[in-house]
């Protein structure tokens, strides 16, 4: 099985670039340039230096002893929460800002759900002195207030999206509209492995540093560069793509993709795309998405702003369709409880998105000898209000 993108931008039947003509020149410029730029010595040295000295990579691989004991297996945490700005998102924005500079762009736009990608984008724009506009659903602006404050402090303009469910999908629509209106000097930094080709492949490559580091870290700690399983949450799927990347062809490594079930898969308030979705087009990509019979995109729901998206990236659609990856679904409540468990047992407050990945440990059986890597995609500072309100209402 081949899990690489083909030269038309497809993973099996998923992917492609279903974009209006207004974006053709931009996407074509990116498509024809991204690999050339990424492979250039200049880009590589800048990217690696910033990942090391600015982002703080390599992120540790930490053997969580108390969780391991609790789940009777060996649980390693890939600490993307320790990256500058607190999530994996910055791996990608560092890469894309360098790419944007190489393309001569001077204005940056982005969409954001949880705000982590918005913060990561605002951060690299401040670093490079570029104008930054971040689109964010009006509901997400409320539930991820700390990240909104950070973006403003960093000098970004945060523009609320008031359409649809006022969440990530709608922010993405607004960002695309902005790009259509500003095609020459603007680069759109997409925050996940979604959107038209070459975004899914480009973002996956930038995030692949996660699994690249894992190979040597696992070798040092376990004597094998391969774990038995990798668990990651999937909003669009960028942290999962990065954590899976170097193991896609290693079919003895279980890839476990964790989606948000919201209030429950059958409640009508869910974001479990792999169960509730079907093939279609969203944000320029043919993939799985939640839609009505009439092809209207369904407004998703999750307590977690970063997973509250009606699609998944085309790579993940392909991995799940071909059964290379297993999909697990976690409700709001399960995620909240796991966040508390990890905080209390390991002294790490995970992001609500990441808490879904942890909750999957209750649903999958592992052997005592297994080495399981959980991609700790981000820290939970942005979710403290929710945690306190839902978990410790009397404090």
């Amino acid at each position: 099985m081949n899990f690489e993108v083909d030269n038309r931008g497809f993973y099996g039947e998923f992917g492609g670039a279903f974009i209006p003509e207004m974006l053709h020149a931009n996407i074509e410029e990116l498509r024809s340039q991204y690999l050339l730029i990424m492979e250039s010595a200049d880009f590589k040295s800048k990217f690696q230096a910033l990942l090391r000295d600015y982002v703080g990579r390599p992120s540790p691989l930490y053997l969580a002893e108390r969780l391991s004991e609790h789940y009777r297996t060996n649980i390693y945490l890939k600490r993307e929460d320790l990256n500058h700005t607190g999530a994996h998102k910055i791996n990608n924005t560092i890469g894309q800002i360098l790419l944007a500079q190489a393309l001569g762009k001077t204005r940056i736009i982005a969409e954001t759900g949880a705000g982590q990608h918005g913060v990561a984008t605002a951060t690299v724009c401040a670093l490079m002195g570029l104008e930054c506009i971040v689109y964010m659903g009006a509901i997400d602006i409320e539930r991820q207030a700390p990240n909104v404050a950070r973006m403003k402090m960093l000098g970004a303009k945060v523009v609320p999206a008031h359409s649809g469910s006022k969440t990530l999908k709608d922010a993405t629509n607004e960002a695309i509209r902005d790009w259509i209106g500003n095609p020459v000097e603007t680069h759109y930094i997409i925050g996940s492995v979604v959107g038209p080709h070459p975004y899914p492949d480009m973002v996956a490559r930038f995030q692949s540093v996660i699994s690249l580091e894992m190979t040597s870290q696992l070798m040092e700690k376990t004597g094998s560069s391969n774990p038995n399983a990798i668990v990651a949450c999937v909003g669009g799927g960028s942290n999962a793509a990065g954590a899976f990347y170097h193991y896609l062809d290693a079919t003895d490594v279980r890839l476990i993709a964790v989606e948000a079930a919201g209030r429950g898969i059958d409640t009508g308030e869910s974001a479990a795309t792999s169960v509730l979705g079907s093939k279609g087009i969203i944000h320029g990509s043919r993939t799985l998405l939640m839609q009505t019979e009439d092809g209207q995109i369904i407004e998703p729901y999750s307590i977690s702003a970063g997973l509250d998206y009606p699609g998944i990236g085309p790579l993940h659609a392909h991995l799940i369709e071909t059964k290379r990856a297993e999909a697990i679904h976690i409700t709001d409540q399960e995620a909240l409880q796991s966040a508390l468990q990890v905080a209390r047992m390991e002294g790490i407050i995970p992001a609500l998105e990441t808490a879904h990945a942890f909750a999957a440990l209750n649903k999958v059986k592992f052997k005592a000898s297994d080495n399981v890597v959980v991609c700790l995609s981000g820290r939970g500072d942005k979710d403290l209000n929710t945690y306190i309100k839902k978990l410790l209402p009397n404090e």
Binding site: R8, G16, A17, F18, I19, P20, E21, M22, H24, A25, N26, S163, G164, K169, N173, I176, R177, I180, G181, N182, P183, V184, S278, K279, G280, I281, I282, H283, G284, Q291, E293, D294, G295, Q296, I297
Partner: protein, 260 residues
Amino acid sequence: MNRIDALFQQKKKEILSIYFTAGYPKLEDTCTILRTLQAAGADLVEVGMPYSDPMADGPTIQESGSVAIKNGMTVATLFAQIRSCRAEVEMPIIVMGYLNQMMQFGMEAFLRSAKEAGVDGLIVPDLPADVFEQEYRDLFNTYGIHLSFLITPQTSEARIRHIDSISTGFIYVVSDASITGAKAGISEAQIAYFKRIEEMELGKPRLIGFGISNAATFHTACQHSQGAIIGSAFIKSIGADERDLAARITQFMDGIRPPV
């Protein structure tokens, strides 16, 4: 002959095309709008099939689409409505919609239903040329449905020539780098762009759209093309007050092209 081809054979300039969102303001307004537009002198109509996530559209069209979806508009309903009054309307009818809805309906079923309803062509902003050529072109030919591709100020000359070669009916010249409804006047740079396209002497006729909002911009656009398309401005005007819908349409049309 496809009604679109017939129109462009017969009329070479000042072609007025109106875009409206099906199901807006009310679910059952489609035929009223079609009939009134024809009576008021429109040459061509583009019926917008409302979509939840219309990424190429500005706020006016997007909001009208949300209302239409809430009103209950669906693909099947739209075709039924068009069919029900097709006999009374002579103009070519084009449906503009997004690819996802067509995929869910099934592209072949969609084209067949369109044909049966009397639709002459489609505009599908997010259907890329290469996918069209590889996956759908034959089907469009089979059902005799035209497909107009868009070009923009950023479209390269080579690509324009290619789009000219694969478009059927006409080419949709997007007036500016923008989503629908975003601009008001027409700038020098836009005129230079229109001229540049004009001088390419393409094989297909051209209609200019996006940002055409009144008589002035319509006439300017028409100086460099076979005609132009008005969308957001029309939708805004018919949603604007409490008068009879037909009266509002007629008043808007009179403002663009006074009755002779």
